[in-house]
């Protein structure tokens, strides 16, 4: 497959055009961004699939071949009402909102929260750009340290355009009672690129719940190139949600998590199909006793494509990980699941399990599921599995024999399948995701109409 140099030129030109803003940034960040754009210039986007294991089943040619526009301000700011019917919403959450990649002070509650705020337990929440001034040294210690700019072209590109993003810092011992919600909304339709960047730093024994949402306010084939970095210090506890609702767009996300000793990270990813969703999510268990539980639900139809590329790296002994993903595929959609659990030499007493289960509702839908274990230590307990199947005929007959018609029975079975992931989700997000699950499947939409 050939690259599209004209398109890469566009990224390089964007970088030059916005070089003035670099002057205002700390020198270490300027340097980081320059390194990133050089790296991108060198590697480009991973369009070659042959022999390229991480991208074997996902074709990014539509992204590489499109001339995306950067830095286009929305024609008008969306209202809170518009946002609250599109994104998951809860009046008692704390929102930090970005529109087309730009921080929206008007839609965020966080413009004043670089100072301690009630309910936030001393946490700092808000715009990364502002925090460079107030927490520069802390940010420098973490930013780009987990999602390495030389990881791939997407991570490099995001880093090259790192001007702002969401910043969450929870000091040692702090508990954030209010749930944090970071929203990346896109209003413009076609051919817009944005580079959401999220940095979450959880101090020793701290605790927080954070939801990251990526939503489309206008539809269209825009391109979201996101990087999220999360650092958990000793004993920190994060409940994390990643909600990807980009509809017709392209969303490539790199999420990197580092867990120190005895920390606990629980994460649920929810994806309703987009033109392409790539969820490259990797957790490094870097201290003894760390525990990671990752769940996911992807729901696709039409010609949507979702690619979950997950890694859990057991670098230290006595860590536990659970990876449980489920998919519901209809029509001609396609899902890719690549899950790898590494157990490094010396990571004894590792307890790891991963599973990917798929419900395939159409003969034309397709799943490539490749769970893998790479074990370089003794005395570990590890397991994995993957399934893909249609709705069970005996279950369908059982329900029909009680008077429930076929369409209703299917609906109940599909909801039941999804509930095994969604039941663990906090309210009101669970209820919201349940609705999104039905809305993502045309067979349910039609029933709602009739």
């Amino acid at each position: 497959m050939t690259q599209a140099p004209a398109t890469y030129d566009r990224y390089l030109a964007d970088f030059e055009a916005h070089s003035a803003e670099l002057a205002a940034q700390p020198s270490w960040l300027r340097e980081l961004r320059h390194q990133a754009i050089s790296h991108f210039r060198e590697v480009g986007l991973p369009t070659a699939r042959k022999g390229n294991e991480p991208w074997k089943y996902t074709n990014i040619a539509p992204i590489a071949g499109t001339d995306y526009m950067y830095g286009v301000a929305p024609l008008r700011e969306p209202t809170v009402e518009e946002l609250s019917v599109t994104a998951p919403w809860c009046t008692v959450w704390h929102e930090t909102v970005f529109v087309n990649g730009r921080y929206s002070a008007g839609l965020s509650e966080s413009h004043a929260t670089h100072e301690p705020r009630e309910g936030l337990g001393g946490a700092v929440v808000g715009s990364l750009a502002t925090a460079f001034g107030t927490h520069g040294d802390l940010i420098r210690e973490h930013l780009g340290k987990y999602a390495h700019l030389d990881y791939d072209g997407f991570a490099a590109l995001n880093t090259a355009f790192l001007t702002d993003g969401a910043f969450v810092y929870v000091p040692d011992g702090a508990e954030v009672a209010t749930h944090l919600h970071i929203v990346y909304a896109t209003t413009a339709g076609e051919q817009l690129v944005s580079y959401p960047r999220t940095l979450i730093i959880a101090g020793k024994q701290s605790k927080l719940t954070v939801v990251e949402s990526y939503v489309s306010l206008a539809g269209g084939g825009y391109f979201t190139n996101a990087v999220t970095e999360i650092a958990l210090d000793e004993g920190a506890n994060i409940e994390h949600y990643r909600v990807l609702l980009d509809r017709d767009a392209y969303n490539v996300g790199v999420t990197r998590v580092r867990q120190d000793r005895d920390s606990r990270f629980t994460s649920t990813t929810f994806e309703t199909g987009a033109a392409l969703t790539r969820n490259d999510f990797s957790v490094l268990l870097d201290g003894p006793g760390a525990e990671c539980r990752m769940r996911g639900l992807y729901v696709t139809a039409g010609s949507q494509h979702v690619d979950n590329y997950l890694t859990i790296d057991h670098a230290q002994p006595h860590c536990t990980s659970r990876l449980y993903y489920k998919g519901i595929l209809d029509e001609k959609s396609k899902a890719v699941f690549g899950g790898t659990v590494f157990v490094r030499p010396g990571a004894i007493k590792t307890n790891a399990h991963q599973e990917d289960k798929n419900l395939v509702l159409s003969h034309e839908a397709e799943v490539d599921s490749k769970p893998a274990l790479e074990i370089y230590a003794d005395d570990v307990l590890c397991g994995h599995g993957a399934t893909a199947g249609a709705l069970a005929e005996d279950a369908l007959f059982y329900m029909q024999s009680r008077g429930i018609d076929e369409a209703m029975a299917n609906q109940l079975l599909i909801r039941g399948f999804a509930s095994e992931v969604l039941d663990g989700v906090m309210e009101p997000l669970r209820e919201y995701l349940e609705k999104q699950t039905s809305a993502a499947l045309p067979r349910f939409r039609e029933e709602i109409v009739t």
């Binding site: 024999s401 429930i404 018609d405």
Partner: protein, 253 residues
């Protein structure tokens, strides 16, 4: 209410029922007994409309309708209920929600008004108590992780909530200890009335001590070869099936 005439049923190339005829009237309890592989479960499954069976010949009339032309859900709405030999697990579908959905589907089909959640719960909790059914199991996924006995109780609980006209009990007694058997039999006896009919398929005579049938039929090689009253069951228990089989063969010669 049910007229089965010369029913022939195959699974793949295998003919399982080879001309079964049976007539059931309202208020009656029919027990169908027979050795393994005689076609007992096939018979109840075909009546309920389980996929995978081909009716090659014969007719089934239920209250004057051609039963075999109806989909399983329409048969249920017409008043037929099958208590499964192996109840199916429905992961992620809560027992209470499942029963309410089923009952609403039936009530809607009969033009009855919707029950409020409160009315439904009250009725369900009452029936669950009668069946000595762990209240906790109502919140769990249907049959998932239930013991064999709990699954069978759940079937009879569904019978009592959905209140059909014709109950088909497919080896409901198998795998039950004596206490569970009594609870299940009591449930069936509460259901029994002049407005209902029951066809009970069993391998063992034991359940017939608790649910007393009006008629007993012996099914061998896909055909009813002998019919009688309750004492026939006792005789089968004492003598086995071979003498019936031999009798049937010599009669055929």
């Amino acid at each position: 209410m049910l007229e089965v005439r010369d029913l022939h049923v195959s699974v793949g190339d295998n003919e399982i029922l080879e001309g079964l005829s049976l007539s059931v009237s309202l208020g009656e309890v029919h027990a169908i007994m027979g050795p393994n592989g005689s076609g007992k479960s096939t018979f109840t499954n075909v009546l309920a409309g389980r996929p995978g069976y081909t009716v090659t010949k014969g007719k089934v009339a239920y209250e004057g309708q051609d039963l075999l032309s109806l989909t399983p859900d329409l048969r249920a709405r017409a008043g037929i209920f099958l208590a499964f030999q192996y109840p199916v697990e429905l992961p992620g579908i809560r027992n209470r929600e499942f029963l309410r959905t089923a009952l609403e589907a039936l009530r809607q089909a009969h033009g009855e008004p919707k029950l409020s959640v409160r009315e439904f719960n009250k009725m369900l909790d009452e029936k669950a108590r009668e069946m000595e059914f762990e209240p906790d199991l109502m919140k769990r996924s249907v049959n998932e992780g239930f013991s064999g006995g709990e699954k069978k109780r759940n079937e009879i609980l569904q019978l009592s909530v959905l209140n059909p006209r014709l109950a088909l009990l497919d080896e409901t007694d198998s795998g039950l200890d004596i206490d569970a058997l009594k609870v299940v039999a009591d449930g069936v006896n509460r259901f029994r009335s002049p407005e209902k009919a029951i066809v009970l398929v069993t391998h063992y005579q034991r359940i017939l001590n608790y649910i007393k049938p009006d008629f007993v039929h012996v099914l061998i090689d896909g055909r009813i070869v002998l019919s009688g009253e309750r004492d026939l069951a006792m005789e089968l228990e004492a003598r086995g099936y071979d003498w019936v089989r031999e009798g049937a063969e010599s009669a055929a010669d």
